[in-house]
Amino acid sequence: MLGLGRKDTTLFAIVVLVTVLAPFLLNPFPADSAMAQFNSGYPDLMQRFAIYGIFAIGFNILFGLTGYLSFGHAAFLGVGSYSAVWMFKLLSMNVIPALILAVIVSAIFSVVIGFIALRRSGIYFSILTLAMAQMMYNLAYSVFSNPAMNLTNGETGLQVYASDPQYLKGNGPDVTHLFGLQMNSTYEMSVAGWKFDFGVGYYLCAVIMLVAFYIAIRIFRSPFGIMLRAVKSNQHRLNYTGVNPRPYNLAAFVISGMYAGLAGGLLACMDPLAGAERMQWTASGEVVIMTILGGAGTLVGPILGAGFIKYFENIFSKINENVLHSWFHWLPESVQNFVVHVLSPFFGEGWSLTMGLMFMAVVIFLPGGLVEGGLRIGRLFRRRPAPTPDAATKPAE
C-alpha cells in the first residue's frame, strides 16, 4: 500500500494510529488523580513530540544512513523559525507561506553549509558543522540584530508586532492559523474524570510529521537510500563502483536540513517567536541524543527518541523532592529520607544528569538504541531468531 512493503505498511499504520489517538493514549490517568502529573496529552507537549520527531527523522536521514555526524543541525531549526516569523511579520499569520519559506531558506543554508562541510569526513565534518552552527548562532544573536539590519532581533527574539506590515492580513486573526483555523484552538472532551484535549496545532504538526515519516520510509527503501548506506559502509568501494558519493551526501544533508527547517518553522507556527538559543550547539546535541537514544538508522527510532526525551524533559523534571517523599511515604522516615536523598539528584532539576547517563549507556551497551532494545526483548519472548532490524546500525566513521 502507498508503495510500501508489507512490513513498512504495518509500521506506518501503527504510527498513524498512535499519532491520531495520542490525545487519548497520552492521558491515561484521570485528571484529578495523583498520577495525572504523568499525563502528557496536552497540546503544547504533544506538538513538541511531533515537531522534534520531524527534526530527528530528518537528522536520521543524514546520520543514520550516511554515518556523517552533524553537530550543527540546530542551525537549520533556527533558520526555519526565523523565516517563518518573518512571513508572519510581512504577510499574515497563515502558517502555509511560513512553512514554505522555512523549508526553502533552510534548504539554501544547508546547500551552502553542506557543500563546505562535506569536503571533509569523519571528525572534521563534525567539527566543521559545529563551528558553522556556532557561527550562525553568534550571527543571529548579535550581528544581525543591529539597527541597520535587524533580521533576528537579538536577545529578545524575533516576534510579531502590531506595527508590522502584514500585507496579506486583511481581516485575518492575530494568532497563527491555517486559512482561519486557529492553531491554539482546542476541543476539550471530558469522560468520567478523564479529560482529553484535541488541539488544531497538534493535528497540523501530526499530519506533517506523518508525511515526513512516510517520505523517510520511501527514502530508506529507495535506491538512493541504498547508496547512502553504501556511503557509510564503504565509501572507497563506492568510488570504484562508478558512483560519486559527494552529491549523494549533499542531497542527504540538504534533505535533513529541510526537515530541520520544517520543524523550526512549525515551532514558530505554534508560538510565533524565534530566538537564537534555538540554534545553540546544545540544541544540536539534543537531536543527536534523541536519534541515538531511539535508534539511529532505524525508521521509528528517531520518533521514539524525540518523544522519550521531550516526555522526560517535561514530566520527569517536575518530580521534586516533595513528590519523591509522597512516593516513598510508606517507608520508615529515616529510610525514606535516605532514599529520597539518593534519588533526588536524578529527578527534577537533575533530569539532565539522568539523560546524560542514559545516553552514555545506550552508546556503550545498546548502539541500536531503544528500537534494538525492544527487538531484543521481543526476541526473548518469541524464542526464535528474529531477522536483523532494517539496517541495524552502528554509527560509522
Binding site: 563546505i116 571533509r120 563551528a131 546544545t282 546535541g285
Partner: protein
C-alpha cells in the same frame, strides 16, 4: 600602536586557555586516537578545584563574642577560618588569600585521578570503535560531569578572587617605554599567560627530554612498531591521559579568577578549542599551541572598534571564519601531518 599592543595582550589570556586545552586534546588524540568531547569538562572541573579549596579553607570555627551584642541583645558570632586557628592570623589569612595558586597542588592529584578513572573506566573500551562513537560517549560524559558539578555547586558562577597582590593592574606601557596609563593590563592575566607558558614548556620538555616522553612520541608516530618492541605503550598512554587531564585542570584552576567558574564553562571553551585543534592541525602539539594563541589574539584584534566599524560583528565569528577557511584551503591545518584522520 598602544591600542594594538593592548589588544594583543588582551588576546593572550584567552589564547593561553585555548592553547592549554588544545594541547591536552591533541595529546589525547595523538596518543590514544580518541576525540575527547569531555575535555572541556576537565577544564571546568579544574576551575571547581579552586572553588572547592577556597571553600575548604574558609571552613570556620564559630565563637561567640560576649563583648559585642547584636541588635537582639545576643552575642555576635565571630567566624574564624580553621587555617587561621592553626597557623595563626597572618599565615592563615595569607593562605586563604592565595587559595587559587595553592589549588594547583590540590588540583594536580585530583585531575590525574579523574583522568585515570576516565581512561581506564570508559575511554579504554572505545579505542577500537568508530570515531563517531568516541565523540558520542565523551559527549555524554561531558553532560554527566557538568550536571554533577551543577548538582553540588549550583548553576551560578562562583567568584574565586586572585590573591590580593595580583588583583590590581600593571602599567605595561611604562615597561615598554610608553607614557604611563596607556597600556594598563590586569596583573592576574599576565600571571596566567606566564603560567601557561611554563606549563606548555614543561609538557614539551617532558616529551622531549625524558625517556618516557621519547617513547610516547615514538608511539604517537607509529604505535604498532613501538608495541612490537615489547614496550607497554598503552600504560604510558594512560599516563599521558592523566597528564592531559591535569593540564586542562590547571588551566581551569588559574582561569577561575578571570572568569568565575560555572558548570557550563567547559562546553563553551571546548567548541573553540576544537576549532583551535583543527586549525593547528590534528595531532600536532606545536600547531595546537600556536593556533591557540593566534586565534585568541585575532579574536581580540577583531573586537577593536575600528575593525568592528568596518565589519560589524566580526569579533563574534572571526574564529569560526578562520577555521572554515583554513580547513578548506589547507585541510591538514597549519602544522598537521599528512595522513592523520584523512579518510
Amino acid at each position: 600602536m598602544d591600542t594594538l599592543i593592548l589588544q594583543f595582550l588582551n588576546g593572550l589570556d584567552k589564547g593561553s586557555a585555548y592553547a592549554l586545552i588544545a594541547l591536552g586534546l591533541t595529546l589525547i588524540f595523538g596518543t590514544l586516537g580518541v576525540v575527547n568531547f569531555a575535555h572541556g569538562a576537565l577544564f571546568m572541573i579544574g576551575g571547581f578545584c579552586a572553588v572547592t579549596l577556597q571553600k575548604i579553607l574558609m571552613i570556620s570555627s564559630v565563637t561567640l563574642d560576649p563583648t559585642k551584642l547584636n541588635f537582639l541583645g545576643k552575642p555576635t558570632e565571630v567566624k574564624t577560618p580553621y587555617v587561621e586557628v592553626f597557623f595563626g592570623k597572618d599565615v592563615g589569612a595569607f593562605i586563604v588569600d592565595w587559595s587559587v595558586p595553592l589549588a594547583i597542588f590540590f588540583a594536580i592529584p585530583i585531575m590525574i585521578g579523574v583522568g585515570y578513572v576516565m581512561e581506564r573506566g570508559l575511554i579504554k573500551h572505545f579505542y577500537k570503535r568508530a570515531h563517531a562513537d568516541q565523540i558520542l560517549v565523551t559527549f555524554g560524559l561531558a553532560i554527566v560531569l557538568q550536571e554533577v558539578i551543577k548538582y553540588f555547586f549550583g548553576a551560578n558562577p562562583i567568584p574565586t578572587p586572585a590573591p590580593e597582590a595580583f588583583r590590581g593592574s600593571v602599567d605595561f606601557g611604562v615597561w615598554l617605554g610608553f607614557a604611563p596609563d596607556l597600556i594598563i593590563y590586569p596583573a592576574w592575566r599576565l600571571v596566567y599567560f606566564i603560567f601557561s607558558l611554563v606549563i606548555i614548556g614543561a609538557v614539551f620538555a617532558f616529551l622531549q627530554f625524558t625517556t618516557f616522553g621519547m617513547v610516547v612520541r615514538a608511539g604517537m608516530a607509529d604505535r604498532e612498531t613501538v608495541g612490537l618492541l615489547g614496550i607497554d605503550i598503552d600504560r604510558r598512554f594512560t599516563v599521558m591521559f592523566g597528564i592531559a587531564a591535569a593540564v586542562a585542570g590547571l588551566a581551569g584552576v588559574m582561569y577561575s579568577p578571570i572568569s568565575s567558574p560555572n558548570y557550563h564553562m567547559g562546553m563553551d571553551f571546548l567548541v573553540l578549542s576544537f576549532v583551535v585543534v583543527v586549525v593547528g592541525g590534528m595531532g600536532s602539539l606545536p600547531g595546537a599551541v600556536a593556533a591557540g594563541f593566534l586565534l585568541g589574539v585575532l579574536q581580540s584584534f577583531a573586537s577593536l572598534n575600528q575593525v568592528k566599524a568596518l565589519l560589524p560583528g566580526i569579533d563574534q565569528i572571526v574564529i569560526y571564519l578562520i577555521a572554515i577557511i583554513i580547513l578548506l584551503i589547507r585541510p591538514r591545518g597549519l602544522m598537521g601531518r599528512k595522513g592523520v584522520m584523512e579518510d
